[in-house]
Symmetry: C2
Subunit: 320 residues, 2 copies
């Protein structure tokens, strides 16, 4: 008999985002041995998406299956339900209704599959391999196409009664505020603090300030990245876009802190490339809205994991 | 050797409210053998309050100490910290700063003492003896002088990193809204949905509607109870007070649901005497603000425990 070699145990981690799907073969130490991506938006039909995933992943698996202890597939996806293995009514995906995604994957791949909310997966990844290592209480906020969240309390992921806990992007932060492009709700956090929301804010503000450098870009090119580009060059309107976003995000974070009193809030996703333009106003407005007993206590930190890797690692963490 | 008789194990449960303090001797079955009250607001100094508590409780204890297995003292109090045994900066109490309350009680009474947020205690009471028996995920909202909350997720109380989780009354529900009389924050849930907040709303609305029956009462007599009295008589302004309160409460509850996805929200405290005048608009606005995946799933229920008893039972539950 020999000792179990943990690096010999493998899992497939798949992160399904509103725009891109990332996947990789991961060992128990959190090393990604092979990874690739697929454009989520290219597939109107979920069956086609699963077929495309399989075609891309099969050759990867072939390289690793022989002589290894392949443990299964972990998936992070928007509105995924850990208990049921489903993706249900995801506002940021093409596939509507209730999709038995874990079952579809198991059928196609022949391996057991666990699925959870993409932000829950990211939280698990941070807790196992990232900035939240050793933390018992933290909140993960993912700022990408949408705004997701994963909540760890008492050292455990909060799934809630039905598996859907942690939809903080859809909490209302400005009653009667901006209409959400997909849910139709008014004033939810995602409508402002996602990459999509930031682009909307930027388009509104540049119309008000004709001298802004933001007006040099084509409508379709206005994104969190272009706003950052202009902010770095000192454009006051671009800076104001992030200040406004940070104010709303900070107010929302204060409410979340008063819910579960975390040691830290981890921010993750494309939007955090805005750095201090976003983080400073966020921190200021979070602190301002907290009860005194919470002030100065909560660390507001960026994910330490490489963005492309964290989601894959998190998804694979479901398998262990 | 004889079997342990659980009804022979006793605890003292103390519930410190913004207005009244209730306490009682409780056995393990949740039977209150003796109880009394004290007016919290009568004591400017916390030392005087502890002395007064001791004078009132000593005779009660005398009757039960002999031959019984007295297990200790459990306390529910606003802004109490389970980890530190302190009451810290409670906006609704006279005693400011950080008070080592559990230590003071142990010193005075000679028994070990555990303390938690009053609403956490109420949640424990409901989970052990009340409407939440057997539930793994629920949120307790106490609507009294203030608005408190206790959150149970994965079958456990959420204390958070520092022991202060569950201050939902201080989450901001109307940015730039009504100023809180004590914290100075603008638009928190407590400023609207507490008994104090309801009285403020009633005073504002009766000034706008001179024909309202609410104008028959003296300023000092306007309370959640008098508003209820007028609503029952069909006064449209009084009914509007509860509808407005229910709208804000419902919007807040929707956000809480999207955080921890509870099986139920339990409402508790003096304000719930308003019954359907409050609960119907609350339910409507909660449902309206939820993502479709949460709709029609969350039970909104009133506490089943006698109000006076629930807080004592909950506090005593800390001891077991």
């Amino acid at each position: 008999m020999s000792l179990i070699n943990l690096s010999n145990e493998l899992a497939l981690g798949i992160d399904i985002g509103g725009t891109n799907t990332k996947f990789g073969i991961v060992n128990h130490r959190g090393e990604i041995l092979s990874k690739e991506t697929l454009k989520t938006t290219d597939y109107e039909d979920v069956e086609d998406f699963v077929d495309a995933l399989h075609s891309k992943i099969k050759p990867l698996l072939k390289n690793f299956e022989v002589g290894k202890n392949f443990k299964g597939i972990g998936i992070g996806a928007p509105n995924a339900n850990f208990y049921n293995g489903t993706i249900e009514h995801a506002p940021n995906l093409n596939w509507k209704g209730i999709i038995p995604f874990a079952e579809m994957i198991t059928k196609k791949f022949g391996y057991s599959c666990k699925i959870t909310n993409d932000a829950n997966a990211a939280a698990l990844g941070e807790m196992m391999y990232g900035a939240a290592k050793g933390m018992q209480d933290f909140i993960m906020i993912t700022l990408g196409t949408g705004v997701g969240s994963g909540i760890i309390a008492n050292g455990q992921l909060i799934y809630g009664h039905d598996g859907f806990a942690g939809e903080l992007g859809h909490t209302i932060v400005k009653p009667n505020g901006r209409e959400h492009w997909s849910t139709g709700s008014h004033g939810c956090l995602e409508a402002y603090a996602s990459a999509t929301g930031i682009a909307i804010t930027a388009k509104k503000l540049r119309a008000e300030f004709p001298n802004s450098m933001l007006n040099e870009f084509h409508e379709d090119d206005i994104s969190s990245a272009t706003v950052h580009h202009c902010a770095v060059k000192g454009d006051a309107t671009a800076i104001e876009v992030f200040r406004y976003t940070g104010q709303i995000l900070g107010e929302a974070l204060a409410n979340f802190v008063m819910f579960s009193s975390p040691e830290a809030i981890l921010l993750f996703g494309g939007v955090i490339k805005a750095g201090n333009f976003l983080i400073e106003p966020t921190k200021m407005h979070m602190e301002h809205n907290l009860l005194p007993i919470f002030r100065g206590k909560v660390k507001l930190i960026f994910s330490e994991l490489d963005e492309a890797d964290a989601a894959i690692l998190g998804a694979s963490a479901l398998v262990w």
